[in-house]
């Protein structure tokens, strides 16, 4: 203990252990404490949280890392499989086939829904993006602790690159979706262009929720065990495989239940995509002010999620 104490300078008086006792150091006008010394040479506190504007700048500076990391993981995903990247396409198609078999044929959810197959695959593909981006981002900090502890970068890069990765995958499946829709006899119209703003708003929404979940998941890793159940509940109540309208019409549920289900973000974005791409899905099936709701969800989640994530920036990697 004693040697360590001898090395500890006290804050009040400059410790002057010196090789030249003839010239007392106290005469020199110089910073007195270590904090002053740091200030004199422009040193900054290590590991402090940057301000919000400078955080945004740092994140923008790392945009190439975010996309490169996303692309790298996308490429690494099926690199050991024989069919390789083809699985990016086959997996959601098989998913849709399973749901068609269970819901379309066995449970007869297709009853009363015109163009059930386009309706179902649009729903499944779009939900696939929402659900898996939220699920994967829960582990984006906690599962990358090695990276967080080894390198310095704005931590929001991690959940964002997860969403970018899944968005790249969504674009691939959207290409397949267009082909499937054409095969099902849908005709391309100018309305299809509405898919672009719908996808953009959905991406912003998912990025925001991803950042919220990344922070929660970094503090309580156990939450990632619960996510599959939460997400499944959300999926079944968002009308991915059936039409909320035609299903709840026969049950005598209160009107507000339908409204709540239909204005939940997942249902809003899925229905907007259906409205854009499917001829028989007309505007009556959408809730009122649907675009305002879509923009609202995107802004609320995007801005709120970013600030919520930034607030704990210096704490990721602790422990």
């Amino acid at each position: 203990m004693q040697p360590a104490d001898a090395l500890t300078p006290s804050k009040a008086t400059p410790v002057t252990v010196t090789t030249h006792p003839a010239t007392p150091a106290t005469k020199t006008p110089a910073p007195a404490t270590l904090a002053d010394l740091a200030a004199a040479h422009g040193l900054t506190v290590s590991g402090a949280r940057p301000s919000l504007p400078s955080y945004v700048r740092q994140l923008w500076g790392r945009r190439h890392f975010v996309t490169a990391y996303a692309t790298a993981r996308m490429h690494a995903a099926y690199s050991t499989a024989r069919l390789g990247q083809v699985w990016h396409l086959v997996t959601p198609l098989l998913n849709a086939a399973v749901y068609y078999f269970i819901f379309g044929m066995i449970m007869n959810a297709s009853h009363g829904v015109a163009d059930y197959v386009p309706f179902l695959i649009t729903g499944v593909f779009v939900w696939d993006f929402i659900g898996s981006s939220i699920n994967a981002s829960t582990r984006s900090i906690h599962g990358n602790l090695g990276l967080v502890r080894a390198l310095h970068f704005p931590r929001a890069s991690l959940p964002l690159s997860t969403v970018v990765q899944l968005f790249q995958q969504l674009l691939v499946t959207m290409g397949a979706l267009v082909l499937l829709l054409l095969a099902c006899g849908q005709t391309p119209t100018l309305k299809w262009l509405l898919a672009a703003p719908a996808l953009a708003l959905m991406a912003v929404f998912c990025a925001g929720v991803a950042m919220v979940m990344a922070r929660i998941g970094s503090k309580s890793p156990d939450i990632s065990q619960l996510m599959p159940f939460i997400l499944r509940t959300w999926m079944y109540s968002s009308g991915v495989m059936w039409s909320i309208d035609s299903m709840l019409k026969k049950d005598h549920l209160a009107y507000w239940v339908t409204v709540v289900l239909k204005t939940n973000p997942a249902a809003v974005y899925i229905d907007l995509m259906r409205y854009a791409l499917i001829d028989s899905f007309n505007a009556h099936a959408l809730p009122h002010h649907v675009w305002a709701i879509a923009v609202g969800w995107a802004l609320l989640a995007g801005v709120g999620g970013f600030i919520y994530f930034w607030k704990a920036e210096e704490e990721y990697g602790r422990g």
Binding site: P9, A150, L151
Partner: protein, 283 residues
Amino acid sequence: MADTKTASAGTPASATAPAAPATAVYDPRDTRVPTVIADEVHVVYKVNGAGGRKGGATAALSRIFSRKPAPGMREVHAVKGVTFVAYKGEAIGLIGSNGSGKSTLLAAIAGLQPVARGRIYSHGQPSLLGVNAALMNDLTGERNVVLGGLAMGMSKEQIRERYQDIVDFSGINQKGDFISLPMRTYSSGMGARLRFSIAAAKDHDVLMIDEALATGDADFQRRSQARIEELREQAGTVFLVSHSIGTVRETCDRAIWLESGVLRMDGPSAEVCDAYERFTSGR
């Protein structure tokens, strides 16, 4: 008890301080430029799942909502009040027995491990030498060079400029075109060489190396030591954590000896290494 005895019997820091002006003690007339200042740094970290029963699923569930600490949670006081000033141009070796807090101190300097008390000031962004975590075994060496560079904050142009240097330095292509193969096909030595080459490609203000020198064959070790020398001249300060006292003696001009989180001695590497060796052989 044996601990304190050896400490006073060895060379206590107070005795060496006058002979070694490069101690933690700050001298106001000093004209050297400080790059890292650690001011009474304490690091405490929480260990999750340290022993004890964690209870069943319902207990875990209620913990999530009640925000109570898990019963297995323990606090480890890893660094206890360490103070020093590092200057431009220094290569500082951190020595000490296993679990003495060396790596934790480095993580705290890098700003990756929050400090419980005290402050760490630094010039620029101190970086740990290591991009291992950013690299992916399923990708080719080529893509990993780019990915690692981006992860360290290099721009695309910088990576393009240095790409050939990185590949040449790693010597991966000496035995054929390995850089275009996935990293999982590399031998462990080749992988380690490529990782070091990527990490060392960037110029850092303050560079910290945690036991990274023992990789590769003799030829590569010589080259990496030369590269560290170069980084030190360009950059400023190099910190090196090593269990090999020989490496610290060769590479560093100053050494800091940590023992159970307490700064035991700080001075020219030869003196500190001598004292440390007496301490370890005396146990």
